[in-house]
Amino acid sequence: MGSGYTLIWLPVIEAAPELSYGVLKTLEIAFLSSLSATILGLSGAIISRYGGTGGRLAGISYLELMRNSPSLVKMYFLYFGLATFGIYLSPFAAGTIALSLHNAAYMMEIFRAAIASVPDGQYQAAASLGLKSRVAFGKIIWPQALRRALPALGNNWAEIVKDTSITSALSVQEFYYAFTSTVALNMRTYEFFIVAGAVYLVLTGSVGGFVRLLERRLSAAERSSAKR
């Protein structure tokens, strides 16, 4: 690199308000997308597990449809594609919906595998106790499945946090947008990349911490119920 590059941090400090606003927007998109993707994914898993052949086929179709295109392509379709038919989604809505639909497919597979991993004996034991199938699922199957699903769910939530950056392609003014916009003027690429790396590290690190906390609480709950 030429005769040495000096890191200058003033441009980063000056951009702090825009960057902070961007972080908030990123959190907003990540939270909404994670929540709706998780709910959609769980519903999808239940439908494909207990919905008979129709449910299973619907689940497989959704999975293949969503898994086989990048989320950016979905965003472009929702934003620019639908606009040609007169349907104008806002950049924020198009980005959040695309992330939700895309990740719901992965979540569905995670929940499906977790539910399938609960041994058949658990269903039989619940039935022998006279539990109705809905109660058996809620009280016996689901808690075990959730604990098994958590590590993979955590991966996916962290993935969503990072994928919020893709919504900047639709002019959503989240963190990546704020960061590339400021770099476009001052070209302080290194300074801003270091900051961006640190910000995403903290954001995804928090997701990791949250998942570990959930895991600990769930296993504590299991131990105390086992003692009873």
């Binding site: 590059y5 620019f80 392609a169 590339t180 003027l185 070209m187 290194y190």
Partner: protein, 279 residues
């Protein structure tokens, strides 16, 4: 969770990059990019493939544009062979300086606008185009002058550079920015926003694709800062910068630069006047 740490190696690599290059301590002329280029026998140019009309892919997928022709002219001057150019495609505009600093390219030619902030991290040649930025609206739009733009949604490329220019003439503008200018223009064409704003050569190129549908807003009372467009090189290489400046001078003096302006912009209006014209 180990995926949290995937950014760590990148940060370390960035820090290592900043430590500096041992070769830089040699005598100025021997360590100049000019010598490297002459020895190598080709010039490596960093350029974007989406910057109409500067550097972009045509229908056949070939890299064409004002800047591509300019790079070939530089090669002709260096090696008497216009074909001795190697293009490195930069995936985004932030890559323009990073590619120079990391020694991946000898020069960046891709509609590179000169701003004081940028001049602190990269060196620019004298400009080969003096452009400015304009608002483009649909022909039927009621917007006639800058004052009509107050409170309107302006569609443009993402970037604090562009936003600052808009703020000069429209107070508290509402801005919707896209990473690609082509997406910004598409969004405006689809009916998002009230006006499109960008560098003049690019804007006029887009508008010309749809004859009669768009018009520029000319508000001579309130000029927008000019936007000099130049070749970017690594900082601290005065030998190379000096060579490129004289290469541009000779292109201007021979009329070749004017030819490129006519070919890609259809006008000589944006040609710089830094050479005294022969009487």
């Amino acid at each position: 969770m180990k995926f949290n740490f995937w950014k760590l190696p990148i940060a370390v690599a960035l820090v290592l990059l900043c430590v500096g290059h041992p070769a830089a301590a040699q005598t100025p002329s021997a360590s100049s990019t000019l010598q490297t280029v002459l020895k190598r026998g080709t010039i490596v140019i960093g350029t974007r493939s989406t910057a109409l009309p500067f550097s972009f892919k045509d229908e056949k997928g070939d890299l064409v544009g004002f800047d591509i022709d300019l790079a070939h002219e530089l090669a002709r001057g260096l090696f008497k062979d216009a074909a001795k150019v190697e293009f490195v495609i930069l995936s985004n505009s932030a890559d323009r300086v990073a590619s120079l600093q990391s020694n991946r390219v000898d020069a960046v030619i891709t509609g590179f606008s000169v701003y004081l902030e940028r001049t602190q991290v990269v060196d620019f040649t004298t400009p080969y185009m003096i452009s400015d930025n304009i608002f483009v609206v649909k022909t039927a739009s009621p917007i006639q002058k800058y004052a009509d733009l107050v409170g309107k949604l302006i569609v443009t490329r993402q970037g604090a550079d562009v936003e600052a220019l808009i703020k000069n003439v429209v107070p508290n503008p509402q801005i919707q920015g896209y990473p690609e200018v082509s997406d910004a223009f598409l969004a405006y064409r689809q009916g998002r926003g009230d006006a499109f704003f960008y560098e003049r050569a690019a804007s006029m190129y887009y508008a010309r694709q749809f004859p009669g549908q768009f018009r520029a807003i000319e508000d001579r009372e309130h000029g927008i800062d000019v936007s000099p467009i130049a070749i970017g090189v690594r900082q601290g290489d005065q030998v190379w910068l000096n060579y490129l400046n004289w290469a541009l001078y000779s292109l201007k003096a021979s009329g070749k630069l004017q030819e490129l302006h006519k070919k890609w912009l259809g006008t000589e209006e944006l040609e710089p006047n830094w050479v005294r014209q022969p009487l």
